[in-house]
């Protein structure tokens, strides 16, 4: 491995008594893509932080161009030509796209005044280069999550890195957008950039990676190529064999209990109509920004509807707020678990009962601590939330367990209709499998489910029918048993 640019040799790292990395050796060559896969908590982020200079190893060395290198801090790593794109964005929401790309490095005149026109021009050049159609002057806060992701990538690329490290870059992207990112990565690779690609999505990894390394519990347990089968990769990651990634469902559907007709929010979505039967999972597929989340939020009363009607159990509903939606029997599990879902500074117990509290108080409205404790314990056990102690703050849980807490919150409400929005985004394989099983069980128990997901195997594996959104319209509804990924993509991006 003479042409290895960046690597680690026998690196170990512990936090307190907890060993996160154990004698890991790993590296990436110029002009290749090396994928790093593993469950949450396997040590991927720690390794990434060591490579990017944010953490120092307890033992072992970081090598750059074959020589030992110790980065004092992230800016030293950046100067050495290492660009990182984190899963959690480090963007300034109120600043423009251009200002974010060049944050702290704006072109300036001699007196230090920023040369705005040059800034816009340079930003535009980078955006065009990576094929992203964004206005450099747009404030980042107004962009979709996918667009923000592209800004983050543009920012890393503006430094002309020799090594690019990406952490879960597609978790917020639709399939279409992910493909565009892959083309960009292939292009960078052909120009000699070394790319470290960290992901849970095995289909992504198998599509683009030249090499695949698997981390489990802080150890490098395997190195393979993209020819490895998904089953092999999964069993390497979890250390056991998981039968199938998504369970195929046996369905006995009841009557149509939930129906929406002509839902419209000007400029966002128009004339959306669908129904869901008891025990049915209706998948909603489409590109990010096609209006699926917006429709869900409007049904749930979080955003205003300009037109349209909603029925549940044959009754027309007038929903003006999430509070009314919940009282009517509708639940909505948000796609943005940290910003809109969890109360991170509160306990797991507080989170689980946050929406079901009205059922856990006396007639006078006084909390019943014993009932609350029992309710929370029930779902911690049922969903196997770890740690099993529900008095810890939600922020301390892994992504997968946080997602289970959100699901528990809605199970505790027991709505007639539950809309789940990207229920397994950024979640490890085992937790994903668990969430899929629980969603199936809920449907089997007679709940009507609407599943919004950009993960096509997930939509195909779980849904009885699949509605496809394109530019704010529900363009078709496919039969889940016969639909293919190609069918969905054709309708979503035609």
């Amino acid at each position: 491995m003479n042409d290895q640019i960046l690597g680690v040799q026998g690196v170990s790292k512990s936090f307190g008594r907890h060993t996160v990395l154990d004698e890991v050796t790993f590296g990436v060559r110029a002009g290749s893509i090396h994928a790093l896969v593993g469950e949450n908590g396997a040590g991927k982020s720690t390794l990434m932080n060591i490579l990017g200079g944010a953490l120092h190893p307890d033992s072992g060395t970081v090598t750059l161009d074959g020589r030992p290198a110790a980065f004092a801090d992230p800016s030293a790593a950046i100067r050495a030509g290492i660009g990182t794109v984190h899963q959690e964005f480090g963007l300034f929401p109120n600043r423009s796209v251009a200002q974010n790309i060049f944050a702290g490095r704006e072109p300036a005149g001699r007196a230090g005044f920023i040369r705005w026109r040059a800034l816009g021009r340079q930003a535009q050049a980078i955006l065009s280069e990576i094929g992203v159609d964004l206005a450099p002057s747009a404030p980042v806060a107004t962009l979709s999550v996918a667009a923000q992701q592209m800004v983050e990538i543009a920012k890393a690329l503006s430094l002309r890195p020799r090594v690019l490290i990406l952490d879960e870059p597609t978790s917020a992207l639709s399939d279409h957008e992910a493909q565009r990112l892959f083309r960009l990565l292939a292009d960078l690779k052909s120009r000699g950039v070394a790319i470290i690609y960290i992901s849970h999505r095995l289909s992504d990894v198998r599509q683009i990676a030249d090499e695949i390394s698997v981390l489990r519990d802080g150890r490098l347990v395997g190195r393979t190529t993209r020819e490895a089968s998904p089953d092999d990769l999964v069993s390497m990651m979890v250390g056991r064999h998981i039968e199938s990634i998504t369970p195929s469902r046996r369905t006995q559907l009841g009557a149509e209990i939930f129906k929406v007709e002509g839902l419209t929010r000007h400029g966002v979505f128009a004339d959306v109509s669908f129904g869901v039967r008891e025990g049915e999972i209706l998948g909603l597929a489409g590109l990010v920004g096609s209006g699926r989340t917006e429709v869900a939020r409007a049904i749930f009363g979080a955003d205003r509807l300009d037109a349209g009607r909603i029925w549940l159990d044959g009754r027309a509903l007038a929903i003006g707020s999430p509070r009314q939606a919940i009282a009517s029997g509708i639940g909505y599990l948000t796609e943005d678990r940290k910003a809109l879902g969890l109360f991170l500074a509160m306990t797991v117990r507080d989170n689980i009962v946050a929406a079901s509290m009205p059922a856990l108080v006396s007639q006078a409205g006084m909390l019943r601590p014993r009932a609350i404790r029992a309710e929370s314990a029930r779902y911690v056990q049922r969903l196997d939330i770890r740690p099993a102690d529900d008095r810890v703050e939600a922020r301390t849980l892994s992504g997968g367990n946080q997602q289970k807490v959100l699901l528990a919150k809605w199970l505790s409400v027991a709505p007639r209709v539950l809309i789940v929005d990207e229920p397994t985004r950024g979640v490890d394989v085992a937790a994903k499998d668990g969430i899929h099983r629980h969603l199936s069980e809920l449907a089997d128990a007679g709940m009507a489910l609407v599943l919004i997901s950009s993960d096509l195997p997930e939509v195909l594996g779980l849904s009885d029918r699949i509605g496809v959104f394109r530019q704010g319209r529900l363009v078709t509804i496919l039969d889940g048993a016969t639909a293919t990924q190609e069918d969905i993509m054709r309708h979503a991006s035609a």
Binding site: A325, A339, L342, A345, M357, P358, V361, L367
Partner: protein
């Protein structure tokens, strides 16, 4: 902490433990306790209320003017609370409905309330209040002034409600993550509005007792009350990031401030130092809160 300071003070000046001194420490707290309780609720909701001190001044003046124009003593208290509540409603409306930053809104109402009170009185005391009204604050039951019972009742009930009563307990959710609370079916706007009204009503209660016990209306009553209330609430576990705090904790915070201030009197230090010390305590409490938050976030 309260015990440590009290212990030190008792050693330095044995008169601290005199029954009459302890009663005077207790009575001295009746103005700050309700205000600190209201402030705790507002802080738990992720806001701040800088206008409470000024609302005390305005309420005092309004009450005294009403009484001096021949108004009835029975109606004086509801009118005082209505005046205070009105100011709180203005705060709540601007924060909850029009989404203006609480710091700015209450800074504005603080200036408006204090200014109005000063204009109404040209800066003079309004004395000559009816004896029946003065009796509200000075009257005693078993040797203890009436307001002590009222304030203790308010604190205890408020404490239980914030901990156990769902409509108020929701404040912790709303303060921790407002959009998530909204999606959990909590009417965040209404709760925030109610929080500012409650805070102002607490200030109004404080104003009633102050006006009555001191037998006059004065525009400068309640100066720096907001500062002491914030210090007490933060000492009691409230945080500027919202979602925490308890009324009982805030009450202990008030007690600490009262003991320290009593120490100044007993040790014959200038009362002018009290402002310096309250400010110092506030700054220290805020620094502790900030480091607590940093520790949490780095986990």
């Amino acid at each position: 902490m309260v015990l440590v300071v009290s212990g030190l003070l008792a050693l330095a000046e044995p008169r601290f433990l005199n029954a009459s001194n302890l009663v005077s420490v207790g009575t001295g707290m009746i103005y700050d306790l309700p205000v600190a309780a209201g402030m705790t609720l507002v802080l738990a909701l992720g806001g701040i209320d800088l206008s409470v001190g000024a609302i005390i001044g305005l309420t005092s003046v309004v009450t005294a003017m009403y009484l001096r124009s021949g108004g009835s003593v029975v109606l004086a208290v509801p009118i005082a609370l209505a005046a205070a509540g009105g100011a709180g409603a203005l705060n709540g409306l601007l924060v909850a409905r029009f989404r203006v930053a609480p710091f700015l809104v209450t800074l504005g109402t603080m200036s408006i309330a204090r200014g109005t009170a000063t204009v109404l009185t040209s800066g003079y005391y309004l004395s000559g209040l009816p004896p029946a009204y003065i009796e509200i604050g000075r009257g005693q039951l078993l040797g203890v002034p009436y307001p002590v019972f009222v304030v203790l009742g308010v604190v205890v009930v408020f404490d239980v409600l914030l901990r156990r009563w769902k409509p108020l307990h929701d404040a912790y959710y709303a303060g921790t993550n407002p959009p998530a609370a909204l999606l959990s079916g909590i009417d965040v706007g209404r709760l925030v509005f109610a929080g500012y009204v409650a805070s102002a009503l607490a200030a109004g209660l404080s104003a009633v007792f102050m006006t009555s016990r001191l037998a006059m209306g004065y525009a400068r009553f309640g100066e720096l009350a907001e500062l002491r209330a914030i210090a007490a609430a933060v000492l009691g576990g409230a945080s500027f990031s919202g979602g925490t705090g308890s009324i009982l904790g805030a009450a202990l915070g008030v007690l600490l401030l009262a003991v320290i201030s009593n120490g100044f009197v007993l040790l014959k230090l200038s009362v002018y130092w009290q402002g310096v010390v309250s400010g110092l305590i506030l700054v220290v409490a805020i620094a502790v809160d900030a480091s607590r938050r940093r520790r949490n976030e780095s986990r």
